[in-house]
């Protein structure tokens, strides 16, 4: 978090000695706050003040990395409570548990399932981010950890309540830098020593947010710097409140003891309720959502929630401005145009699909604005539409010269007919959902 000039000024000698080249300490503080001067340019600043200030200028929520090499997952360093305040920085990761009850074959099969849980949705790749290996109750924890580490395409979380079990397993797979999960009030010091020794991140749970804050300080004092706040869902409403409290304390109050990302472990849910409640945690405020099941119908709605919520609201979502073929259109199929605002495009494309009439959709680059906004902002014009359609060579694909235009742009009709080879312009509906009925009527 950026420091204010006032906060910096308080740590300066306040002697106005001018040795930094500026007339007063306040002037120097203002330059430092504006990042035009470095703190070290004050020759008289105490080492203590320098440490304090550099610590205070660290981000309020730490960035944590799990994994090594090309299998890593990063989370943390979030800066806001609501996505409209700026954006959420790092999409919530999904971790799927490999239960202790699974034998080696079953464990192998589940890792395979996790590796294969990769989906492409609106041009983006969605996948499970982490493999969580339950160790308590496994006959040979080291062998289990090694088995999964060898097979998994994604980084690992090792799960055990016992520092002894964890040490055995961690020794076997130290090089993949797993997250170790999880310490509580009685084991925090042993776990912290283990994490510090192996250089891996550590998850800690507390019986309350207050206790959790105490435990992270203890772990930090033992040398474990990379911490994760762990919550489960015995009382999911409480968990959502705790997550909110921890995040507000970190982000708004710069409260260091809770300045770490979070993991939420779903417990004892049916696949359906795990999906519904899990998605709510992914939206607020789990950094990692740990689940038991990983059927596509469970993962996809949660992944799509993450995809939506973690979209940057400041950047309009766009699709490439090109010709899209819906179904397998032929030389007598309808031709229509729309904007490259992805919401507009996907609404139109979805409804055309629903109509079961194959069609060409020409997408015009409107810099991510919808039809009306594009028109108001001069991002769409007849000239642009005609040029786009010509460059996409649609005339070579169809025999007819009928063009369907958005219902919100009826005034384009005459000019398109006058200035292009598209001599029969048909005014389409104002909203996408009317497209199936419209096409059924006009395109017989």
């Amino acid at each position: 978090m950026a420091l204010t000039a006032m906060q910096i000024y308080k740590s300066l000698p306040r002697t106005n000695c001018k040795d930094c080249g500026l007339p007063t300490c306040m002037a120097f503080a203002m330059q430092v706050a504006a990042k035009r001067k470095a703190l070290a340019e004050c020759p008289h600043i105490s080492a203590e003040a320098q440490t304090d200030l550099s610590e205070a200028s660290a981000p309020p929520m730490k960035l944590i990395t799990i994994g090594a090499g090309d299998k890593t997952f990063e989370f943390g360093q979030e800066t806001v409570m609501f996505r409209h305040e700026e954006k959420f920085m790092r999409p919530c990761g999904i971790a799927v548990k490999i239960p202790a009850s699974a034998n080696d074959d079953e464990a192998n099969a589940k890792v395979g399932q996790i590796n294969n849980s990769v989906f492409t949705r609106v041009g983006e790749k969605l996948k499970v981010s982490l493999c969580a290996v339950c160790l308590d109750g496994v006959s040979n924890p080291a062998a289990r950890a090694a088995l999964i580490a060898g097979k998994s395409n994604v980084p690992l979380i090792l799960m055990s309540e016992s520092p002894g079990t964890m040490k055995t397993a961690l020794d076997a797979v130290k090089q993949v830098k797993p997250l170790i999960y999880k310490a509580n009030s009685t084991t925090v010091e042993d776990f912290a020593a283990l994490a510090a020794g192996a250089g891996v991140p550590l998850a800690i749970s507390g019986s309350s947010v207050e206790e959790l804050a105490e435990l992270t300080v203890k772990a930090k004092n033992k040398g474990a710097a990379n911490l994760v706040l762990a919550f489960d869902t015995d009382k999911p409403g409480e968990t959502i409140r705790s997550l909110t409290i921890a995040r507000r304390a970190a982000i708004k109050k710069n409260f260091r003891a809770l300045g770490y990302p979070t993991v939420v472990e779903m417990k004892g849910e049916t696949p359906e309720s795990e999906t519904v409640i899990g998605a709510m945690f992914a939206a607020k405020y789990a950094g990692i959502l740990m689940i038991d099941y990983c059927e596509p119908w469970e993962l996809l709605p949660v992944m799509t929630t993450i995809q939506d919520i973690f979209t940057d609201p400041q950047v309009p979502n766009t699709v490439e401005a090109k010709l899209y073929e819906i179904g397998s259109p032929g030389d007598s199929s309808p031709v229509m145009f729309t904007t490259n605002f992805s919401l507009t495009y996907f609404s139109v494309a979805g409804e055309v699909e629903r109509s079961r009439i194959p069609a060409y959709i020409s997408v015009v680059d409107t810099e991510g604005l919808g039809v009306l906004n594009a028109y108001a902002g001069d991002k769409i014009s007849v000239e642009k539409v005609v040029k786009t359609i010509a460059s996409q060579k649609i005339a070579e694909k169809v025999k007819h010269r009928k063009l369907i235009i958005p219902g919100l742009l009826p005034i384009f009709r005459a000019e398109i007919e006058d200035t292009s080879e598209w001599k029969e312009v048909i005014i389409g509906p104002e909203t996408a959902r009317e497209i199936p009925a419209f096409l059924a009527k006009v395109w017989k």
């Binding site: 609501f82 996505r83 409209h84 989906f119 949705r121 609106v122 947010v209 207050e210 206790e211 804050a213 105490e214 300080v217 999911p236 409403g237 959502i240 409140r241 909110t244 409290i245 507000r248 304390a249 708004k252 109050k253 409260f255 003891a257 809770l258 359906e272 309720s273 999906t275 519904v276 409640i277 998605a279 709510m280 939206a283 607020k284 059927e295 596509p296 119908w297 469970e298 996809l300 709605p301 949660v302 799509t304 929630t305 995809q307 939506d308 919520i309 979209t311 609201p313 919401l343 996907f346 609404s347 979805g350 409804e351 699909e353 629903r354 959902r433 009925a437 009527k441």
Partner: protein
């Protein structure tokens, strides 16, 4: 360790709105439903009161919606009869109230007359005793006739009528005032228009305490993030003292999700995405759960599996 004080000081209360009227109030409902009244964000009971949990309204219609057979089968054969669909939703799906969409009135579809729609509404009101939300078919011209007839048929039942937009709000206000109903104010994914519609309602003398906001609803994956954020911003504005935004919110999840391919296409069309029978209802339930977290007070839902899971989530979380 003592934590810093992170409580927000919200200064305003979301309006409390009751739907339905029992006999003493001039209606025939067995119970009423009250939403709103919060002085804090969803779930954050440590800094305010949440007197009413969110509720689930069962989606019914006077024509079979154009949803895939797999989804319709999940609901049952009753979709063919609004009365039977209503009864099943209340008795088996355990919805808190009902939301009827008169899509059968669509001039491009079945084109049911206003009188036929009013008859359907009366029949539904006779068949079940939960409060009712009534929507037109989306064609302003037709809806002015349809909603007029339905509002009269349901006179005194304190229904929620959808929806008042910039284009038709005068008609809707007149028919609601004459027949003692409440209003849904609608704006298409635009918080400023949402506020504008509420200003129009207020300025012609309609009491905003009798209004529920509808920012339209986007299906998960299709502009969901826009509506989620509008809902969240509206709720925050309301709690901070903007009386025009301090209204309960409604989301038509069932009416929206079964149009997008993730919730309607079977595995042939989406290889590796899992059976539609499971995926469809989850798409609906997850979408609804997320809206509840943003600020929805009423979610309209259709599939029994989705309804069951949202009810459980509400019980566990709220």
């Amino acid at each position: 360790m003592a934590l810093p004080d992170i409580k927000e000081k919200w200064t305003y209360k979301i309006n409390e709105v009751t739907i339905g009227a029992i006999e003493q109030e001039g209606g025939t409902r067995g119970k009423t439903i009250t939403v709103g009244g919060q002085t804090t964000l969803p779930l954050l009971s440590f800094e305010g009161n949440i007197p009413n949990k969110p509720v689930v309204a069962g989606y019914i219609a006077n024509a079979v919606p154009d949803w895939p057979d797999t989804i319709l089968k999940g609901i049952g054969d009753e979709v063919k009869s609004p009365v039977e669909w209503a009864q099943k939703s209340v008795q088996e799906f355990k919805v808190d109230l009902l939301s009827i969409k008169l899509i059968g009135a669509d001039p491009h579809g079945k084109n049911a007359t206003a009188e036929e729609c009013a008859k359907t509404v009366s029949d539904v009101l006779k068949a079940v005793d939960v409060p009712l939300i009534i929507w037109g078919c989306g064609d302003d011209e037709k809806d002015s006739l349809v909603l007029q007839a339905c509002a009269e048929a349901a006179k005194g039942e304190n229904c929620l009528i959808g929806s008042a937009k910039e284009s038709n709000y005068r008609t809707i206000v007149a028919l609601c005032m004459a027949n003692k109903h409440k209003i849904i104010s609608e704006a298409p994914v635009d918080i400023n228009i949402g506020k504008q519609v509420n200003i129009l309602l207020r300025d012609i003398g309609y009491n905003l305490n009798d209004v529920i906001m509808f920012q339209t609803t986007a299906a998960l994956g299709y502009g969901f993030d826009y509506v989620y954020t509008i809902s969240e911003r509206a709720r925050i504005a309301g709690l901070k003292g903007d009386a025009l935004m301090a209204l309960p919110q409604i989301c038509d999840v069932g009416g929206e999700v079964f149009r997008v391919k993730e919730a309607v296409a079977d595995e042939d069309a989406l290889p590796g995405w899992g059976a539609l029978e499971k995926r469809g209802p989850m798409w609906e339930a997850v979408c609804a759960g997320n809206y509840l977290q943003a600020g929805a007070d009423i979610v309209i839902m259709a599939h029994p599996v989705a309804i069951k899971n949202i009810r459980q989530a509400i019980d566990k979380l709220f």
